[in-house]
């Protein structure tokens, strides 16, 4: 099938007009390097966004979703079309939090995808300092596991995260909260739970996640201290947080354990649709822009190949007169296009890598970032190469087919 004569002719065409060949190669190089760069940058942005989100949120959360819907108790016993007027229904007995947490934690830890499990006792509180009152969330945490899942230690401005383990009177507060409450290390923080219990803690650390809402309202205490505050036993938790190996597959893990757990099991995507949507939309934009660039590059190649065919129309006619078939002619020009595609693709991947590297070093000091984010994934490079090759194939095939249909008689007779 691949005749060496045809390849030789392709080779001579490519090398005899070097300038034109280089322009064609450059257009592919440009398309592919932009594809690589755009996608690396977008997935860098997405990863950063996700990592930031996961500082306060686990991949899967188990919690007590509250009592069932009791707005119409009578519908269970009366026919569907009965008119019911029921006012001010009240739940008189309702179990808060998760009771048999040890069993559930053990179940979650034995899932193959699980990388970490931590338990929390989260309490809605109102912080008081003199006349200032701020509503917020007091999170009683398992200090070591919390660190393993969320890496809070990285965000500590003052004090040390690990100290919380041994200080049942200690609290670590967000930087915004500390500022609003005029708190420094070793100051007292007075708080009231929604159950009306008042308690005093000592500030032993200040953290800053850069998520303003968290920094302004959240404080951490030891999980034992939180249970004490609510007068609950050592098995009581409100939330179990689970991290899995691949966060994009959190739904599967949640789905797998949900039947065995009598509480709400929620993957992060369910609770944070906007994060997933944002990340998918950015992916779509990156793909759309880079494919457009590739398409433009494809038109460049199409143009150059078309020009080459027009320039060599007599040569093609003479080749056909000498006995080269339409297939041979197609092969000659398609080979040229594919050589341009492969060379442009390889150079484009290398060039794209260096563009990504350069942009990755541009300073960008917002929201905990130092430089613009970037990922380096082999799969982006491979896709860019495949798309580039496909583009050149199509852009080369059309002129090649045109060349193969040239009628030698019309051309030679003029």
């Amino acid at each position: 099938m691949f005749s060496s004569v045809n390849n030789k002719i392709s080779g001579v065409h490519l090398t005899s007009n070097t300038k034109q060949s280089i322009v064609a190669v450059l257009s592919v190089t440009f398309g592919i390097s932009m594809y690589v760069f755009m996608n690396s940058f977008m997935s860098g942005v997405n990863d950063t966004q996700t990592n930031l989100a996961f500082t306060a949120m686990a991949h899967v959360r188990v919690y007590n979703d509250g009592p069932v819907d009791n707005t119409n108790l009578l519908k269970k016993v009366l026919p569907a079309n009965t008119v019911v007027n029921l006012r001010s229904a009240k739940v008189i007995q309702y179990t808060e939090g998760i009771k048999n947490s040890r069993q559930i934690v053990s179940l979650l830890q034995h899932q193959p995808e699980t990388t970490g499990v931590t338990t929390q006792v989260n309490i809605n509180v109102s912080y008081h300092n003199g006349a200032v009152r701020i509503n917020g969330l007091l999170s009683g945490v398992d200090v070591e596991n919390e660190e393993r899942l969320f890496g809070i230690g990285r965000y500590m401005l003052q004090g040390e995260w690990a100290q919380l383990k041994n200080r049942s009177d200690g609290v670590i507060v967000g930087s915004g909260l500390a500022k609003n409450m005029s708190l420094n290390i070793n100051d007292n923080l007075n708080l009231v739970t929604d159950g009306g219990i008042v308690k005093n803690y000592k500030v032993i650390g200040i953290f800053e996640t850069t998520i303003a809402n968290t920094d302004k309202s959240k404080a951490y205490i030891n999980i034992g201290a939180a249970r004490q505050l609510l007068s609950k036993n050592a098995d009581y938790v409100t939330d179990i947080q689970v991290n899995v190996k691949d966060y994009s597959k959190a739904r599967q893990t949640a789905g797998a354990v949900a039947p065995a757990i009598p509480y709400k099991v929620e993957a992060w995507q369910m609770a944070n649709g906007q994060l997933e949507a944002g990340s998918n939309l950015r992916d779509i934009i990156a793909k759309a822009v880079s494919l457009t660039i590739l398409l433009v590059a494809g038109f460049g190649i199409y143009n150059i190949m078309n020009m080459t065919v027009s320039q060599k129309i007599r040569e093609i006619a003479i080749l056909k007169a000498m006995g080269f078939s339409g297939g041979d002619i197609t092969q000659i020009f398609l080979t040229e296009a594919l050589v341009i595609g492969v060379v442009g693709g390889i150079v484009g991947m290398v060039f794209g890598f260096f563009v990504a590297l350069a942009v990755n070093n541009v300073p960008f000091k917002i929201g905990g970032l130092q430089t613009l984010p970037m990922t380096y994934k082999a799969h982006d490079y491979i896709l860019a190469f495949i798309f580039g090759l496909l583009t050149t194939f199509v852009a080369g095939y059309l002129p090649a087919r045109k060349a193969s249909k040239i009628d030698p008689v019309t051309i030679i007779r003029g």
């Binding site: 005749s3 060496s4 004569v5 030789k8 002719i9 001579v12 065409h13 005899s16 007599r314 040569e315 006619a317 003479i318 080749l319 056909k320 007169a321 000498m322 006995g323 080269f324 078939s325 339409g326 297939g327 041979d328 030698p408 008689v409 030679i412 007779r413």
Partner: protein
């Protein structure tokens, strides 16, 4: 099957439809023997070139039938015809039509490389031999566009000969050459028919060239006027 007949055309008719319907070849039947040096003559527009391109198998838009070396070629696919031309027909045109990006040697070798029946070394040796015969040994490695007009035409002849075709067709092969080079080309053609038994069919405007060939076929307004066998 008559083995002495190289080419046979039977009742060949051809029409041009643009700008208006016009019959360019009218019921032409003739045959050419092996080793014959045939010239096609006639005024401009008489249809002689059109006939040559029908005979060459490149133009397939005609009525009638065409046989070369006993094989009926009418109705075959373009690809089959291309393969047939590659092996059995050599072309020399008014303009050399060499591939200017290749050397003279490479131009000569191309049809044989396409045929692929011999090794590259053999083909190269044959190409050198042809070039030597045409007094072009020194020009072999020059790019085709660096040669003079007469040299280019001789390279084109060497290219037509490389696959040792049974028929060589020329469309005014000497139309662009001076009298000295015309003589050279004519002598080569004559030599090929005499020494190798190859058949030559050439369209020409050159009366001297025609007169010295074996047979002249004259066309006028698409009709076969007469066939003169020289010396009769």
């Amino acid at each position: 099957m008559d083995t002495t007949i190289a080419l046979k055309g039977t009742a060949i008719n051809k029409f041009f439809y643009q700008p208006e319907p016009f019959q360019v070849l009218k019921d032409i039947s003739f045959s050419v023997n092996k080793g014959e040096f045939l010239t096609l003559v006639g005024k401009s527009g008489s249809g002689k070139s059109t006939l040559l391109y029908v005979l060459s198998t490149m133009d397939t838009d005609y009525k009638g039938s065409l046989e070369i070396n006993g094989a009926v070629l009418t109705g075959k696919s373009q690809n089959q015809l291309a393969a047939f031309r590659n092996e059995h027909i050599g072309f020399v045109f008014q303009f050399h039509y060499l591939l200017v990006e290749f050397t003279a040697l490479e131009n000569v070798m191309l049809p044989a490389l396409k045929l692929g029946k011999k090794s590259r070394e053999e083909i190269e040796a044959n190409a050198y031999e042809s070039l030597k015969m045409l007094d072009l040994r020194e020009q072999a490695l020059k790019p085709a566009n660096m040669l003079s007009g007469g040299q280019q035409q001789r390279v084109a002849i060497a290219r037509a000969l490389i696959n040792n075709p049974s028929i060589i067709m020329g469309d005014e092969p000497t139309g662009n050459l001076d009298s000295k080079n015309t003589k050279v080309v004519f002598d080569i053609f004559k030599q090929l028919t005499r020494e190798r038994g190859q058949t030559i069919i050439a369209v020409t405007h050159d009366d001297d060239f025609a007169r010295n060939s074996d047979r002249i076929i004259e066309l006028s307004d698409g009709n076969l006027l007469k066939t003169n066998t020289i010396g009769e």
